[in-house]
């Protein structure tokens, strides 16, 4: 019998637990209520770094059991190692549902695990629920954001990757007397074909990572040139936010493709998104329309960006932005 919900407790390069884990934990509480209050468990990979802190956080976020794979060999993420250990655990504890954050790591690990277990996986979901038959109902955007689909799964575990920052974390602590279980595993039997040679940290236009920023100042072709993007960078700095770009701006080499927002770039959900000189093509808006508040500045009053903007300003970015920056600084 499949039972319980398992969550992939992803940590970053410094062993810090990712926010999406806590978002999943809260959603799992809601799902569990509809599944006879089933257990909510996690699998955590670690080399020991930050382990006590992470255990502490997990027990304040309502986890019943945390399965820990602890080895110096697990310091670097490896799909080959991580998937093998995850698959073995799932075969052993047979969860009903397995949830993973839709990060670059999660979106590589999840399909490998799902295919190995011969089960189904719904990608990059924005909403999870339990239907009247007790099945996991995963809802996600498709067709470049033009269509939403709710997807069910015939096999166990029912798996989904879930987009970060869309679901909310718990407001209060949900303290559990969490049981921590050290996993036994043997990595020597696994042939590792992929090796990390080097990691180069991203030199983004701002100090804040675009996928974590609460405020994003994004520019399009309307920012015209490098000086235009320097204005955005200055504004992002005073606001403590990050800079984003449309594909138009990336194609003009005004910004690096790593900060492109949209269908072929990143999906972002900041509290505030300021779109400057961006026309608002569907391929762009699909990546930012989930933002809490959208402010758009465009000199064309018919620009489609105004259809998604909460506050639309018809005007010239080169007149408005310098004044705005001055006022914020002053």
């Amino acid at each position: 019998m499949a039972k319980g919900i398992l969550i992939y407790a992803q940590t970053d390069r410094n062993g810090i637990l990712q926010n999406v884990v806590l978002e999943l934990a809260k959603t799992a509480q809601d799902l569990s209520q509809k599944l006879d209050n089933c257990e909510i468990n996690a699998i955590l990979f670690t080399d020991g770094t930050n382990l006590e802190e992470n255990k502490n956080i997990l027990s304040k976020n309502g986890f019943n059991k945390v399965y820990i794979a602890n080895s110096l060999k697990l310091k670097q993420y490896s799909t080959e190692y991580y998937s093998k250990i995850t698959v073995d655990l799932i075969k052993n504890i047979t969860p009903e549902i397995f949830l993973i954050g839709a990060t670059t790591q999660g979106r590589e690990l999840a399909p490998v695990v799902a295919t190995t277990l011969n089960t189904g996986l719904t990608a990059d979901c924005t909403k999870l629920d339990i239907n009247e038959k007790g099945q996991l109902a995963s809802t996600r955007p498709t067709f470049g954001g033009n269509l939403m689909a709710t997807i069910l799964c015939k096999n166990y575990p029912q798996m989904a990757t879930v987009r970060p920052k869309v679901l909310k974390k718990a407001e209060n602590e949900i303290i559990k007397n969490t049981e921590f279980i050290e996993l036994d595993f043997d990595l020597s039997t696994i042939e590792k074909h992929v090796e990390l040679v080097e990691f180069i940290e991203n030199k983004q236009l701002a100090d804040v990572r675009i996928d974590e920023a609460e405020i994003i100042v994004a520019g399009g072709k309307g920012m015209k040139n490098q000086q235009g993007f320097e204005l955005l960078q200055e504004l992002a700095q005073v606001l403590g936010g990050s800079v984003g770009a449309s594909r138009g701006a990336v194609d003009m080499k005004l910004a690096d493709s790593s900060i492109q927002v949209g269908q072929t770039g990143k999906t972002v959900v900041p509290k505030i998104y300021i779109a400057c000189g961006i026309s608002g093509a569907i391929q762009h808006t699909v990546g930012m329309s989930g933002s809490d508040k959208i402010i758009a500045i465009n000199k064309d009053k018919n620009a489609p960006i105004f259809k998604v903007a909460d506050v639309g300003i018809v005007g010239d970015v080169f007149e408005i932005l310098p004044k705005l920056i001055n006022k914020l600084k002053g």
Binding site: G120, P141, F143, L147, V194, D310, I320, K327
Partner: protein, 259 residues
């Protein structure tokens, strides 16, 4: 070196129209090669440009009309290609698609060193097919690949883009790589390419050619199914403000930032 590139024909999502019943109007929707697959093709062609003895095959699973995109790939310089097509493949999710493509590669290409996919298809947007192919063939996979830096002694060195930066990874071949939008533009076909594409004999393979059972493919072989599809809530645009001057605009923005 033998490279297989998986390409998918997708509707141009820039051009979606709705029927009265809130379903997507598929007639008249133009089909294109999935934009990410264009980068997979270009990456394969770049390897062919700089290395000796590279042979590239491209394949797609889809209706017979998908032949069109195989010809397009050949016009760009890909050596040959085939369509994996059968009514029994209809309704496949990524698990069934991955299994079908993996079986087709194994049966029809045999010794392959590198399989290139796009990172996402713009219609399904799941990013799961490449990894599913890799597991079926028992090959390693790397996703979010920006560039192949080198292939030497059966080892590929690649650049992968992640949230906090770039990873340089080495992978032992054969392997599956899923390509992001690269920093280079895909090439355009030459006249010679068009001629090759016209002449090329495109093969079609069905279920019986790839050694799978009917329960393993299409809707029967798919663990997931769509229970409901609906149009997303349309966001209502807010107020549009035409300020008298820049100071007015600034005040309005400050108000919005604080509110």
């Amino acid at each position: 070196m033998k490279i297989a590139v998986c390409v998918k024909q997708v509707p141009d999502t820039a051009d979606i129209k709705w029927t009265e019943n809130n379903t997507i109007q598929r007639e008249g929707l133009e089909s294109i090669i999935n934009p990410f697959d264009m980068y997979a093709l270009e990456t394969a062609l770049k390897l062919k440009d700089r290395e000796q003895n590279v042979n590239i095959t491209t394949l797609t699973m889809g209706p017979p009309q998908a032949e069109e995109i195989i010809r397009k790939a050949i016009s760009l310089g890909i050596d040959d290609g085939f369509v994996v097509t059968d009514k029994k493949f209809a309704g496949a999710d990524t698990a069934a698609t991955g299994r079908t493509l993996a079986a087709a590669i194994k049966e029809k290409i045999k010794e392959v060193d590198l399989i290139l996919c796009g990172q996402f298809a713009t219609d399904g947007d799941t990013a799961q097919t490449g990894p599913a192919i890799s597991v079926n063939l028992n090959y390693p996979v790397i996703t979010y690949v920006k560039e192949i830096l080198s292939v030497e002694n059966n080892i590929a060195t690649v650049k992968k883009e992640v949230e906090d930066g770039t990873e340089i990874l080495k992978v032992k071949l054969p392997a599956v790589l899923c390509m992001l939008k690269c920093d280079y533009e895909p090439r355009r076909p030459l006249i010679k390419g068009f001629k090759n594409a016209q002449k090329a004999e495109i093969k079609f393979y069905g279920l019986n050619d790839i050694g799978l059972e009917v329960e393993q493919v299409g809707i029967k072989g798919s663990p997931t199914y769509v229970s409901k599809a609906f149009r997303p809530e349309q966001k209502q645009g807010g107020e549009i403000f035409v300020p008298d001057n820049a100071d007015d605009a600034v005040n309005k923005i400050l108000e919005a930032l604080n509110g």
